[in-house]
């Protein structure tokens, strides 16, 4: 049975009535405590002395922990081992945790933090990628992928252009800040109510700092108020801090980061500084591409190397490049460790080639969309990526056709040119951008999931799985999948909180793979249950099994019957009731792992992805060259979500991803002082898109008739890919700027294309073309 389409988010009613609970909503009992982190105000310093006595004497302060009071390992990243839970001798970034405070009220905790006295010896910090490169401060050796003969091909290329691109960081700005409640239990145990994308790791990190075994810790996640990657590893930190305090005080501790603290001390999207050279022929066919990408890891490893890898895998975006060398390095700086963020390095890799293609188009005097189209992946040799995986089920051409028609690209280009000739200071720009995004964790073993499905005696169903709900609609889709598999209406199926004691050893809910992996695991569990119920059902239906062929059972509309004989049925609830009497187990686990993945890091060859997701967007902007402000006039998107399980939810991901990407590409600028202080650490000055920033005319469609075989219900992952559709808006701004110089020069560009960049580059072009300031 196909899932029931377009049902609302399973928590929609709870959301809009205020009944949906988040970690901060757990109501504290009288003795419960609040936690607070005291963190370093310096980017790099030695801790000479500290005095907690005054702080401890403040009324309402229960305890203050320093590193020596950590009973287990002082480590938040057991794998890399480079992220102390509490600073020992030195601090490596502003925001590094030094002490933990437990108090009866937030007021007392704040007062205690003010009263902690520390003496530092300050060192020269490394604050930018350039500084880190100058000092050779690598996080790990460079990684490389290449194919063909890049250097030779570059030398013989018809034309060559060199360039560079800086892409900035991005604050996640999940609406719900990082938070955890830890409740100590009997016999050395702890329950964590976490806002974590990665409950198993939260459990393990907490066990680690407490010096315990995993079975002493249970981590539960009901839902997150947004994650976007920011709660893949860094939610563990908050949980570990709260757990240490709960353990020390033997009281429940709630730790909710204040917004400004969250912005200051958590990691961001990795900024990248990249250089490239692109060789191409007169038609704009890319002959060679050599890019060197450098990421800002911040102070510790976190997920930086996997992010770097994904940047490499997406440096080609949607284009076949016969000769290519991609080199990528992560550099250590004295900033909070940067971390996962929707796209996970992919956007940083893609931005470089998209920027380069514009330069090619400008050089040849052609429309950039045409150059993009020419270079799309195709058949034969043109289907192979630089790492050797074939781009199967390439949807670029159908997307292109549909989008050209939908957006009326050519006509509008003419209109835009006319507008620009008539206006000196207001310019319009338009760009088309494709997205190809690889689906799977590139760390292959993570591509696994577990589930546990219970059938209750009354015929209702409880589904547990390892994925977490952060708004993306995973639980809704899983509910649809389970209901469809059992032939039940969705209200008969309930999803439990994610809980490490129900489904263990889960992978993080990340890499857009939540539904692919957990959906399959749930289906696997249900298949087991159905197989277990089949003999009983057949006997209840009085079907003889003698014919040699096993009659196949259908679960549909709450009935169970033999295929083709819907009139003779037992109800599902009756079947389950009888199964219980017949002493059958009504609970089953399920498991799934993605087949056929493998990548050789040394060789830079293999199949890291199960499949690719595709999308394409056309954006038109109007930019005021005097103030730098852009307004999105219209955006058309066609996105490939396979046979969508829930088109409304998938469109929500496309729209939301685009707008989040738009923020990264335009208004979200992280500004630091020369001492490394993040200057805009609150929404007063850090500007994510508001409702007024979305396109005036916003048209979004899912590609139809594009089933994605080998994935649950032929669907496709949709969480991350749409983020990069926002490049269409970014490039449209560049197109508008270049109109100032009558499209004769390629503007220097960067990301975000904020007001400042626009004004500066428009001004330069005006001088270059020697036009008077006003004509």
């Amino acid at each position: 049975m196909k899932p029931d389409n377009n049902i609302p988010h399973e928590s929609a009613r709870a959301h809009c009535t205020g009944k949906a609970q988040y970690v901060a909503d757990y109501l504290c009992g009288p003795g419960d405590l609040v936690g607070r982190v005291f963190y370093s105000p310096h980017p790099h310093a030695r801790i000479l002395n500290y005095d907690l006595s005054e702080a401890l004497s403040i009324a309402g302060v229960a305890d203050i922990l320093e590193h020596s009071r950590i009973p287990g390992a002082n480590q938040l990243n057991p794998l890399a081992g480079d992220e102390p839970c509490l600073a020992v001798d030195t601090v490596q970034c502003i925001g590094q945790a030094m002490f933990l405070i437990a108090a009866q009220s937030p007021e007392a905790a704040y007062a205690a933090a003010r009263a902690i006295k520390v003496e530092y010896e300050r060192f020269e910090p490394i604050l930018t990628i350039d500084e880190a490169m100058a000092k050779g401060n690598r996080l790990a050796p460079a990684r490389q992928i290449s194919s063909g003969k890049p250097e030779e091909a570059m030398l013989t290329a018809t034309h060559r252009i060199k360039g560079n691109l800086f892409t900035g960081g991005q604050e996640h700005w999940y609406l719900e800040t990082q938070s955890a409640v830890c409740v100590p239990g009997e016999q050395d145990s702890m329950t964590i109510y976490a806002s974590s994308q990665n409950p198993t790791e939260t459990q393990l990190v907490v066990a680690g700092v407490l010096g315990w075994e995993a079975h002493q810790v249970v981590c539960q996640v009901k839902r997150m108020g947004g994650g976007f990657g920011g709660k893949e590893t860094q939610a563990n930190h908050v949980a570990a801090w709260a757990a240490l305090l709960a353990n020390a005080t033997a009281k429940p501790v709630k730790l909710v980061l204040f917004r400004d603290d969250d912005q200051r001390l958590t990691g961001k999207r990795h900024p990248f500084q990249s250089t490239y050279e692109i060789g191409f022929d007169n038609q704009g066919m890319i002959q060679a591409y050599i890019a060197d990408m450098n990421g800002d890891a911040g102070m510790a490893t976190d997920l930086s190397m996997a992010i770097l890898e994904r940047a490499l895998f997406h440096a080609d975006n949607a284009y076949f490049i016969p000769n290519i060398r991609l080199t990528a390095t992560m550099w250590k700086t004295n900033k909070p460790s940067n971390t996962a963020f929707r796209g996970f390095g992919g956007p940083q890799g893609m931005a470089v080639i998209e920027n380069a293609i514009d330069a090619v188009a400008r050089f040849l005097g052609k429309d950039a969309a045409e150059i993009r189209y020419r270079n799309f992946y195709g058949g034969g040799q043109r289907q192979f990526t630089p790492y050797g995986q074939a781009v199967h089920n390439n949807r670029l051409y159908p997307l292109w056709d549909k989008l050209q028609a939908m957006s009326n690209y050519t006509t509008r280009r003419t209109e835009i040119n006319a507008f620009n000739s008539a206006n000196a200071f207001i310019k319009r720009g338009m760009a088309l951008c494709p997205v190809k995004f690889g689906i799977s964790f590139t760390t292959a073993f993570l591509n696994q999931a577990g589930a546990l499905v219970h059938l209750y005696k009354d015929g209702s169903v409880m589904v547990n799985h390892g994925g977490t709900e952060m708004g993306q609609g995973l639980h809704t889709k899983i509910r649809q999948i389970a209901a469809a598999a059992l032939g039940l209406p969705t209200h008969k199926v309930r999803l439990s909180d994610t809980d490490t004691s129900r489904v263990p050893n889960t992978s993080p809910t990340a890499a857009s793979s939540g539904t692919d992996l957990n959906g399959m695991a749930v289906k696997n569990a249900i298949d087991t249950l159905k197989a277990r119920l089949t003999p009983l059902a057949l006997s209840m239906l009085e079907v003889k099994e003698d014919a040699g062929v096993e009659p196949s059972l259908v679960f549909q509309d709450g009935h169970v019957f033999v295929a083709g004989l819907p009139d003779r049925y037992v109800t599902f609830s009756e079947l389950v009731k009888q199964a219980h009497r017949a002493q059958l187990s009504l609970s089953a686990t399920g498991f799934y792992c993605t087949p056929g993945l493998g990548f050789d890091k040394e060789e830079g060859r293999g199949n890291p992805f199960h499949y690719y997701a595709f999308g394409m967007a056309v954006a038109e902007v109007e930019t005021d060259m005097l103030t730098g402000r852009s307004r999105l006039l219209r955006v058309d998107i066609v996105h490939d979500a396979g046979d969508s399980i829930n088109p409304a939810i998938d469109k929500g991901q496309v729209i939301g991803g685009f707008v989040q990407g738009l923020g990264w590409c335009t208004s979200e600028t992280l500004r630091y002082s020369s001492e490394g202080q993040l200057l805009n650490c609150s929404p007063d000055t850090y500007k994510i898109p508001g409702i007024g920033d979305i396109p005036d005319d916003f048209r979004v469609q899912l590609l139809s008739g594009a089933p994605n075989e080998s994935v649950i219900h032929n669907s496709k992952a949709v969480g991350e890919p749409p983020f990069m559709l926002a490049f269409a808006a970014w490039l449209a701004i560049k197109d508008a700027i270049s109109a100032v110089g009558r499209h004769r020069h390629e503007p220097a560009f960067g990301l975000p294309a904020n007001c400042e960049l626009v004004v500066r580059e428009a001004d330069k072009l005006r001088e270059l073309t020697n036009k008077p300031a006003i004509s």
Binding site: S11, A12, C16, T17, G18, K19, A20, Y22, A24, L27, P106, E107, A111, W173, Y174, L175, E176, R223, M224, G225, G226, R259, F425, G471, Q472, G473, L626, T627, R629, R631, I649, K651, G652, I655, G656, G657, V659, Q660, S667, T669, R671, N680, S682, P683, D684, T685, K687, I688, P689, G690, I691, G692, I694, C755, E756, V759, R760, D763, A773, I774
Partner: protein, 492 residues
């Protein structure tokens, strides 16, 4: 009624908080109050500084005709004591509950139908903003919907479904259970408001005075010269939230109806300092359309509903939006104490970075806006990274008078964000005075900007950007005042 008792309506009941026996301070925010109650965690904290709207609630207040007016506000910036005599409506109140069923409010149903929630954390606030819009008289299309929701950040949905939900439910407005309850609520509020004497709420930590008349307010100002005066408290509450400290003494003039008026005399308009930004911007839109755009993008609906023009002016911020407007209009401020009153120009009122000319016992009570000379051209542009709910990186407000031959006879170029206070570009003005108002003159004049200002780099932008855009704004001013002349005196 005990003067230490705060009384308001919530959950359809009269709630009384006696500060002598309460864990709350009078300036505890409504958000923190709500979240400490059982079953009221629907109202969320996303930023505690008025920038995200997750904490949005609706206040219903009696207007002069004893009708209820519903307005969305940010509860994170709302002092508990300031809701005396009002109805507090929270997300838990939206649905209509009977014994057996819960009927969702149309705004909630629209959110579900349009898939306008993903993670759901912003959703209670969005629902409350939608409810405020639903209960307003405005006709709603996607532009007005967006404008009303500019105070609600959502990181998940990309806003399109929220916009669609807003338009759909507001275009099919029907009577809801709040309409049915109105007579009862009005009676409850009237009974609370019968008592018209100043409320003095006090705890061990804090004294909070809530006067209802100007005389009382001035008396209190005299009696407690060290008290912090607040109206909308939007500036004041942020500090409390970020430092977890309560001011020892507060005088809250938000209940003084006398300070909320607009009237005319022979030479111009008189506006009360207590008028909220929303009402002021409606007034300006009607009478000074050339200056309207700046106000349209002032903060968000939630902030505009409570923030007062007096508060904005007295903050004396270099990036406040009203000061440049008042300077360019040649406005004069009336400053009162119990015994005295004096008038001064907007220019003189601002004495430095966030400092004004008021002494401890004084109150800014009225603002006089003289009718502009016929033919005066006005221009205003606020430049910020985000279109809405963003403070100015810089701004230019200009008033220009041309001779019939097209020469500049009078000019004021008032810049925000270019110096420690709002400041006129005097060198540039001097250059332009007596010149033609055309591109050549403006191009030359723009070089003077560098003599007028040496701005700073900060969290919003670099000094170089500010200088460049300050020059550029002269061109914008020129193009807009020449192609699109607005004769203000005709409008008025």
């Amino acid at each position: 009624m005990n003067s230490n008792q705060l009384t308001f309506v919530h959950d359809n009941e009269t709630v009384v908080i006696d500060f002598a026996r309460s864990a709350f301070q009078p300036s505890t925010t409504v958000l923190n109050y709500l979240r400490s109650l059982p079953n009221h965690s629907g109202t969320k904290e996303g930023c505690a500084e008025g920038d995200c709207g997750a904490c949005t609630v609706v206040l219903a207040d009696l207007n002069q005709y004893n009708q209820l007016v519903y307005r969305a506000v940010d509860s994170c910036l709302l002092f508990l004591a300031s809701i005396h005599g009002k109805q507090l409506i929270t997300v838990e109140n939206l649905a209509e509950k009977s014994q057996a069923t819960t009927d969702l409010h149309p705004v909630q149903q629209a959110i579900i139908d349009h898939h306008a929630s993903q993670c759901g954390f912003c959703t209670p606030g969005v629902a409350m903003s939608l409810f405020g819009l639903y209960k307003s008289e405005n006709t709603v299309d996607s532009n007005t919907a967006k404008h009303s929701l500019s105070g609600n950040l959502c990181r998940c949905t990309g806003y399109l479904p929220i916009t669609e939900a807003a338009v759909q439910c507001c275009q099919h407005r029907q009577e809801d259970h709040f309409s049915k309850e109105e007579p009862r609520v009005i009676a409850m509020l009237q009974s609370i408001r019968k008592e018209k004497k100043t409320r003095i709420f006090s705890t061990e930590q804090q004294l909070y005075a809530l006067p209802f008349s100007l005389d009382e307010a001035l008396e209190l100002r005299k009696k407690y010269p060290d008290a912090r005066l607040v109206n909308g408290a939007t500036d004041t509450a942020i500090k409390q939230n970020k430092t977890y400290t309560y001011l020892p003494q507060i005088i809250d003039i938000s209940a003084v109806d006398e300070l909320r008026f607009v009237s005319r005399n022979a030479d111009g308009w008189l506006v009360g300092s207590g008028l909220c930004i929303e009402d002021f911007s409606l007034f300006m839109g009607a009478h000074f359309p050339g200056l309207g755009p700046m106000l349209r993008v002032f903060a968000s609906k939630q902030i505009r509903h409570v923030a007062s023009i007096g508060g904005n002016v007295c903050t004396a911020s270099p990036i406040g939006d009203l000061i440049p407007i008042f300077i360019a209009l040649g406005a004069r401020f009336k400053i009162s104490t119990v015994m005295t009153e004096r008038w001064m120009t907007a220019t003189d009122f601002i004495t430095g970075y966030r400092s004004n000319a008021l002494t401890a016992k004084e109150l800014l009570t009225e603002i006089f806006i003289p009718d502009p000379q016929p033919g005066t051209l006005f221009f205003t542009e606020k430049v910020s990274e985000r279109r809405e709910l963003d403070i100015a990186t810089l701004s230019l407000t200009a008033s220009i008078k041309l001779s019939s031959e097209g020469y500049v006879t009078d000019i004021m170029l008032v810049y925000g964000g270019m110096a420690a206070r709002v400041k006129r570009a005097l060198n540039t003005e001097r250059f332009l005075l007596g010149n033609r108002w055309n591109a050549d003159a403006v191009a030359q004049a723009s070089a003077c900007i560098d003599q007028d200002f040496s701005p700073i780099s900060d969290a919003r932008a670099s000094a170089a950007y500010r200088l460049q855009v300050a020059r550029n704004l002269l061109f914008k001013c020129l193009t807009q005042t020449t192609s699109n002349t607005i004769n203000l005196s005709d409008e008025a």
